[in-house]
């Protein structure tokens, strides 16, 4: 048997990698992928707790997280395309003005 804490530590590692990518990376698309990585880490802990208590509601919540992630990816990538059209760059350090 695998202890629950192993799954939680794995999900924590994934979440931490996502946070680090969010801080370190300068490419706006990679930052966005780091957010997806964080969401995946949280999903793993949801499924692990659902298995721990044999409660399917944890798995149902994972679906809602996935729906929100899909909606977020669609809108976020559209925003990235709009930013690239106006600024001609994907580097977040160069996107520092609200108004052009």
């Amino acid at each position: 048997m695998v202890p629950l804490s192993y799954y939680l530590v794995l999900s924590g590692i994934l979440f931490v990698c996502g946070v680090l990518g969010f801080l370190i990376k300068r490419n706006i698309i990679t930052i966005f992928m780091s957010i997806e990585l964080m969401l995946n880490g949280v999903n793993l802990s949801f499924v692990a707790f659902a298995a721990q208590w044999h409660d399917l509601r944890g798995q149902v919540f994972v679906f809602f997280v996935m729906v929100v992630a899909a909606a977020e990816a669609a809108v976020g990538l559209a925003i990235i395309i709009a930013v690239y059209r106006t600024r001609e760059t994907l580097n977040v350090d160069q996107v520092n003005l609200l108004k052009l």
Binding site: Y6, I29, M33, A71, A73, R85
Partner: protein, 190 residues
């Protein structure tokens, strides 16, 4: 025992993919390693007995969302990222801070070792019909609300990704359809 070996195997792949996402400087390599992370996470879900979640993980995450990412990377022709002064400051402050937080969380979790509630290999208790019963009975209202959310997200993506001058012209012009077709054609190679 086999359970633990499989967990460690897929967990190692998962962590390696996540670290590779951080190390790579080209976004397309990061995207491909993120696909590896998601696929091995699906295997972890199978180990936890959640078969339907694992299937949806592969279809929605590793399939749909990552294809969206790859298309955007190729569309924008994203090159290697260049590091600036700000990124070095973020690395210097961010890495120790995140490391301290991670150690704290891991300390709390490992301190209280509890075993999972006897999920043996092949015991797939997250069957689609059970999940559907829960989703369409107890969680019917949230389910419908998410469909509205998806609809709004589609409309938002279409509005955001379309060219602003094309929208403005479409609103103001009372041009015949011939001319509007010409507008679309000229808008493409801009």
């Amino acid at each position: 025992m086999l359970h633990l070996i499989l967990f460690l195997f897929f967990g190692a792949i998962c962590v390696a993919g996540a670290v590779n996402l951080l190390v790579q400087s080209h976004p397309i390599n990061s995207a491909l390693s993120l696909i590896v992370v998601m696929a091995s996470l699906a295997a972890e879900y199978l180990l936890l007995g959640a078969e339907f979640v694992a299937a949806v993980q592969v279809i929605v995450y590793a399939g749909a969302i990552m294809v969206l990412f790859l298309i955007t990377i190729m569309l924008l022709n994203a090159g290697k990222e260049e590091h600036t002064k700000g990124s070095r400051v973020a690395t210097l402050i961010g890495v120790p801070g995140v490391a301290i937080g991670a150690v704290l969380v891991a300390w709390t979790l490992v301190g209280r070792l509890s075993t999972t509630h006897s999920v043996s290999i092949g015991a797939l208790w997250g069957a689609p019909n059970d999940i559907a019963r829960l989703l369409f009975r107890d969680f019917l209202l949230p389910f419908e609300v998410t469909s509205v959310l998806i609809l709004i997200a589609i409309m938002g993506a279409v509005v955001l990704a379309s060219r602003p001058e094309a929208i403005a012209r479409r609103h103001h012009s009372t041009a015949p359809p011939q001319e509007s077709r010409e507008l679309v054609a000229t808008g493409k190679d801009h």
